[in-house]
């Protein structure tokens, strides 16, 4: 039962993006297209889960005073793995993510979970925590990307499978999209409104 809780808390109750507000930089910068958001999400899930497992396994070996540098080295190793794998197999997404892929190293979600959870808990719980938080991050990232892409470009970009080109074009919207949503300003405005929406929802829930 409690293991299940570690997995699901990252999805809604402690959603890294909307509730704890961690890892804002990649959230806003790669959410211009749904496919980029999914690619980033998969990379973060992998790094977060692996680093959580490793840090949890090594938590009794790593001296307390140098734990942060050790965590960063572990995380950076996995980021390098992801970078090389993505470069080899999905070059298009690798190009689109650009500088934000190596920047996963300094994504606060990963170091934050290492410090707050994996450094204190067992391997299984840490792995589940990593997967849950990673999925929560991917969900909110894709959610923001979906809104931005639909309103800002009138399309939904997924992955090309067979004869399907990978892009769904929405009639009407794609002819005259609200271009600002795909730009930096739109991302910040949308984030502000979404955060206000979630605050409103949680305070309403508290009163009821």
């Amino acid at each position: 039962m409690s293991h299940m809780k570690e997995l699901t808390k990252g999805l809604f109750k402690e959603n890294p993006t909307f509730i704890i507000m961690l890892g804002m930089c990649p959230t806003l910068s790669v959410s211009t297209q749904v496919s980029n958001a999914l690619g980033m999400g998969v990379a973060v899930i992998f790094v977060l889960t692996c680093s959580n497992i490793f840090i949890s396994m090594l938590r009794k070996v790593i001296p307390d005073s140098i734990r942060i540098p050790s965590y960063i080295v572990i995380i950076a190793s996995f980021v390098t793995v992801v970078e090389m794998v993505m470069h080899a197999f999905v070059p298009a997404i690798y190009e689109a993510l650009g500088v934000y892929l190596p920047l996963i190293v300094v994504n606060c979600i990963i170091l934050g979970r290492a410090e707050a959870f994996a450094g204190k808990n067992g391997v299984l719980d840490s792995a589940l925590d990593g997967i849950g938080m990673g999925i929560g991050f991917t969900m909110s990232l894709s959610f923001i990307a979906l809104i931005r892409e639909v309103i800002g470009a009138g399309t939904i970009t997924l992955f090309p499978i067979g004869s399907f080109s990978g892009t769904i074009t929405l009639p009407g919207l794609s002819a005259s999209p609200v271009r600002v949503m795909t730009l930096a300003a739109g991302a910040l405005l949308l984030m502000g409104y979404l955060k206000a929406f979630f605050t409103w929802k949680s305070t309403k829930g508290g009163k009821a």
Binding site: M21, M24, A76, G98, L183, A185, M191, Y193
Partner: protein, 197 residues
């Protein structure tokens, strides 16, 4: 690109916060009052400028000659972490006053995306030593400008009645969005028109 071109690019056209979203966490977290915003801005500028130079040197003299470019991410983050520690120690010895002002912000800078970001961007763009330094300095100045403007806006916002759900972070994001709209004025054509490319 000329040095002035690089300065204008990273301060305005590619402003780290409002255009590239690098360093957003401290931008929202530390912009509540202008004093701490200035402290954070100066500390970041200091570190981005030095880190640009050191990371460039590490890449050019240690990684590239041995074909170890894939170790870029891991070596840069270690260099930056060590550098921040070093800067902290040096400032504490040399100028206790400055240390008192910057002290609490320095450790936070290791995980600031802006620092690792500019180091990687320098390498990706193939800048030389001086260009890297200029880009690092400009990125830091752009960050400082944005965070100081933001802190002044937030100080004013504290005095105004804001709907309860928008208080704090949401209104900060929306203000930043409006600032980013204004910054769209600075685009690539600015560089061309000024003859800086």
């Amino acid at each position: 690109m000329s040095y002035i071109g690089i300065l204008v690019t990273y301060i305005f056209v590619q402003n780290f916060i409002l255009v590239q979203f690098l360093g957003l966490c401290p931008f929202i977290g530390v912009s509540k009052n202008s004093e701490s915003a200035i402290g954070m801005g100066v500390a970041v500028t200091f570190v981005t400028a030095i880190a640009s130079v050191v990371c460039w040197a590490v890449h050019t003299f240690l990684l590239a000659p041995f074909g170890l470019e894939y170790l870029r991410t891991i070596s840069f983050i270690l260099v930056i972490a060590a550098l921040v520690q070093l800067v902290e120690m040096v400032i504490r010895k040399m100028s206790p006053g400055l240390y008192k002002a910057l002290g609490i912000y320095l450790p936070l800078i290791t995980t600031n995306c802006a620092v690792l970001g500019i180091a990687i961007i320098n390498i990706d763009n193939g800048y030389n030593l001086l260009e890297s330094f200029t880009a690092g300095l400009a990125a830091g100045l752009g960050f400082t400008m944005a965070i100081i403007l933001m802190s002044n806006i937030r100080e004013k916002l504290d005095m105004t009645p804001v709907r309860k759900v928008f208080q704090g972070v949401p209104i900060a994001f929306i203000s930043a969005g409006l600032m980013a709209l204004a910054f769209m004025m600075f685009d690539k054509s600015l560089l061309t028109n000024l003859g800086l490319v």
